[in-house]
Amino acid sequence: MTALAARRRSPLASVVLVLLGLIVTGVAYAALAPGRAGAAETPEQQIAAGHALFLANCATCHGIDATGRGDAPSLVGVGAASVDFQVGTGRMPLERTAPQAPQAGVHFTPEEIAALSAYVASLGPGPGIPSADAVDPAKGDASRGAAIFRTNCAMCHNFAGKGGALTRGKYAPNLDGTTPTHIYEAMVTGPQSMPVFSDQTITPQDKRDIIAYLKTTEEQPSPGGFSLGFVGPVNEGLVAFVVGVASLIGCAVWLGSKSS
């Protein structure tokens, strides 16, 4: 018997054969299967693609015509900004029922989110997705944004945007890591418990200043060293007592004790 014939009879031969089959099939599929639709599509194609995605993913709760069913609100007139925010941050499709829709994993590609936004925008006029210029933190005045944030937003989101509690399990989330576009869209659409801050009451320039403030706070090193979560005096008091006073008590005990 030749060496090859002997190896064919080895117990590992079947495993190798299966692996080979899988690899060949996978490579052939990847090479030969049709790719995704390109980004260069007409608006009508985008809306149609969005409609298809909507029917597959959203219609069960929001209704086939998006006019709402039960707890799911009507999407007519919410605008592209709402969809870009809700789907782009992973709040929609709703992962689980809870006091408020949690921010979960994003299930769609940016092209799909754009298609969904275009479809919902076509249902009725509503807030649009802001331009990159409108949300550029470098163009905003962080200190003016801080004043506006402090009056309008800090009572729910904390003075540094670290989040806060509302009633019965609802909460205002931590704003760290949220993109400037999503921050703008949240302000303009008022998702869930958040009120609406339309462009006439907080102007686009005001919104850009708020974004500049939030990004500055997020990026700059905390001047005092440990930020302790930016919660303020409670944490600082805790550290002062647990670390500071405990050390002082330890020192006092050591001073008064007899040496061995």
Binding site: P195, V196, T201, S259
Partner: protein, 350 residues
């Protein structure tokens, strides 16, 4: 003295012990327990332990010296004399502060810890007894003290010179008067400050902090605007006035409004005082979907669709509504002032 009277006896200088007759339940005397038996430290007994203690003390002093060195190096090497960005400056400040702090802590704590450890382990630690002397002075001292006081009184001549005495009493009586006069600075009396705000008919509602007037048409369903009255910046007691007249404007579906609040509303837009009726915190956490206003301090919750009735929490009264309407240009203006005092309860509120 009968045989049953307790007789003071001196046990040791300064200590008296009352002894009763034998045959009663009390013991005759309490034995002086004396000192705790002396416990020798390792450094007293074992010369190697003493050497080890010495090395430990020296190490602590060495840490202190290192700390001083670290402080000096950090101070002179982290420089701020070149122009740099705000972020870079802040990062460098943090580094400098951290290193200076650590260095100084090592320097000072090392010295202290070394000294304490030296005293505890190596310095003599035998107990010594110091007798406590009587608190009461000797009779001779007491007589001398009284004599000095009497002599001083006589020498002052107050008794012989009534003019001095009387003018002194007169001057002393007048001295407290400025203190009483300064009590005026605790005023002025509030008058009706607690019951009224600067809101009156025709005042525009301006957004806080931008100060822009608000058009009714600019508010979408679910909009919230923080409001201060027109002319707030010109009043002399600007902060006190803002603390009373802050208002929150909310737009709701008019069908949801309580009929009581409808006359003071405009097409679903309502304005309520932002000052909590419990302890005065700003109630501004508006939950759009439930129409609840939450106060962050003690969690009083007000339902905007029931004229801001309290539905949870320690507050007991609704938030006062500011009646609003629009002027000819469509800007929101107050229809009148508040119909009741804003904020927490106070005695004269009734």
């Amino acid at each position: 003295m009968s045989a049953n009277t307790p007789v003071p006896q001196h046990d040791s200088p300064g200590r008296e012990v009352l002894s009763a007759d034998r045959g009663t339940a009390l013991p005759v005397r309490f034995e002086n327990p004396g000192l705790v038996p002396h416990r020798h430290r390792m450094a007293d007994v074992d010369p190697k332990a003493a050497k080890r203690a010495e090395r430990q003390v020296a190490t602590l002093f060495a840490i202190s010296a290192l700390g001083t060195l670290l402080t000096l190096v950090a101070y002179f090497s982290i420089k701020f004399d070149t122009p740099m960005s705000f972020m870079e400056h802040m990062a460098r400040t943090r580094l400098s502060t951290t290193l200076l702090g650590i260095g100084l802590t090592m320097a000072l704590f090392g010295l202290g810890a070394g000294a304490v450890h030296w005293a505890k382990t190596l310095m003599p630690d035998e107990e010594r007894v110091e007798d406590r002397h009587l608190q009461r002075g000797s009779d001779a001292d007491r007589r001398d003290a009284v004599g000095i006081l009497k002599e001083g009184a006589a020498e002052s001549g107050l008794g012989r010179r009534p003019l001095i005495r009387n003018s002194l009493i007169g001057a002393l009586a007048l001295v407290p008067l400025p203190a009483l006069a300064f009590l005026r600075d605790t005023g002025p009396m509030p008058g009706n400050n607690l019951s009224t705000t600067m809101w009156k008919a025709g005042l525009k509602l301006l957004s806080d902090p931008q100060g822009a007037p608000v058009k009714a048409a600019d508010l979408r369903l679910g909009s919230v605007v923080h409001i201060v009255p027109e002319g707030l910046n010109e009043v002399p007691d600007y902060l006190e006035e803002k603390a009373k007249s802050a208002v929150l404007v909310i737009r709701l579906d008019p069908a949801l409004l309580d009929p009581v609040s409808v006359p003071g509303s405009y097409e679903g837009i309502v304005a309520y005082s932002k000052i909590c009726t419990h302890m005065g915190c700003p109630v501004a956490l508006y939950e759009q979907q439930t129409h609840h206003l939450l106060c962050p301090c003690h969690q009083s919750t007000f339902d905007v669709t029931q004229n801001c009735k309290v539905i949870f929490g320690p507050a007991k009264r609704n938030l006062p509504q500011l009646p609003i309407t629009v002027d000819a240009d469509g800007y929101l203006v107050a229809k009148s002032g508040f119909h009741e005092a804003v904020g927490p309860s106070f005695w004269e509120r009734g």
